[in-house]
Symmetry: C2
Subunit: 219 residues, 2 copies
């Protein structure tokens, strides 16, 4: 059948890429490692971040930038820990862009900071197109979303260095096929690391945190 | 903190609205009732559609338009039933627009059709901004996504006539607060109808199907 393809606005993407390059230089100069965390709504980004803070906040100075269309629900959860947090409200925009991060990085401050975690807007599509000057893109797929998602939303799975499979505590109650998921994802992105975790129980979190620390320290 | 707001492209939205009006006239002329079904990835749009088909396909001539960025996974599931299905691949675009529906409606055919179900791209943000000439917008929130989603993604909850709360079979395994969800959603959209269902077990599906049939027949 006839399919019309909406053109991605090349000008917007090019402008964002330039700004992302400048941001990356700035992050490198401050020696801060930046992780851009992406997923669908409700996959568990904030819960995973709270687990990372629990594991690493005694060793490193961490900051979190929270991206949401509206509300500061997540920022208030993070603020209960001892790390700095800044909320971005995008007023309808479906993803964060480098310009928003520039403003937020100024506010949170980079001096002496070692890890900056950016929680993107909950969206399995648009955030994957916009670089934020990050060192690594990490995505979460939660078990109840189903193992067929890589086929339907390929870009984020291709762009990410690590895939966290969250909510494995719900595995017994779903028909999620872990082997099928691994096969599909590694065919699309052979270098991706896959970490099954439960942010709720803590299971598997250590594996991901170990990987993140290796990336941070270049080990 | 300083927040930059990306401008919604008014020209794109205006052009879509005009086309959506034309589509609606065309649907009305053919006396076909059109439902635009939206949700996050993996909330259960296809499973709910299969339940609607099971309940109504002996009484009405149904067609389904499947919107996905890539793949025809969902269309193949629908094609196992006895209804007509057309797949749209958006090649990266994060939502369906009226122009895509125009092409798909031509292909599937409107003559004698009584119900056309449009499964939008899995995305809790962008699809809510684009009218497709539909009679009703219906959205799904699945229990594992959490009860805080209306605060964070308000537009779709405001735009929808009905909210299907899917995967209630997982309620015992989550901390989903049904009262909190109802309170938040009805404060934003007092007229919205809320239907807790499990597309997996069939529980609660009848209530939604009854509402849909009322809307279709103007009862």
């Amino acid at each position: 059948m006839a399919v019309r393809t909406l053109k991605v606005d090349e000008d917007i993407l090019n402008a964002n890429d330039k700004l992302a390059d400048a941001l990356r230089s700035r992050f490198d100069a401050s020696q801060v490692f930046v992780m851009n965390l992406m997923s669908s709504p409700g996959a568990g980004k904030t819960s995973v971040i709270l687990r990372i803070i629990e594991a690493l906040s005694s060793k490193y100075k961490i900051g979190v930038i929270e991206g949401d269309i509206a509300s500061d629900v997540d920022a208030r959860k993070i603020a209960k820990s001892d790390v700095d947090v800044v909320q971005i409200n995008t007023s309808g925009a479906c993803h964060l862009d480098a310009n928003m991060i520039l403003a937020a990085a100024e506010t949170i401050g980079l001096d002496g900071r070692q890890l900056l975690i950016i929680e993107n807007v909950g969206n399995l599509v648009c955030p994957a197109e916009f670089r934020l000057g990050e060192n690594v893109k990490v995505m979460i797929l939660s078990i109840p979303e189903g193992h067929d998602k890589p086929l339907k939303y390929p870009l984020m799975f291709t762009e990410s260095s690590a895939l966290i499979l969250n909510k494995i505590d719900l595995l017994p109650h779903t028909d999620f096929d872990m082997d099928e998921l691994r096969k599909t994802v590694t065919a699309m992105n052979p270098g991706i690391r896959i970490f099954p975790v439960s942010a709720k129980t803590g299971e598997g979190v250590g594996g991901f945190v170990g990987w993140l620390e290796e990336k941070m320290t270049g080990a």
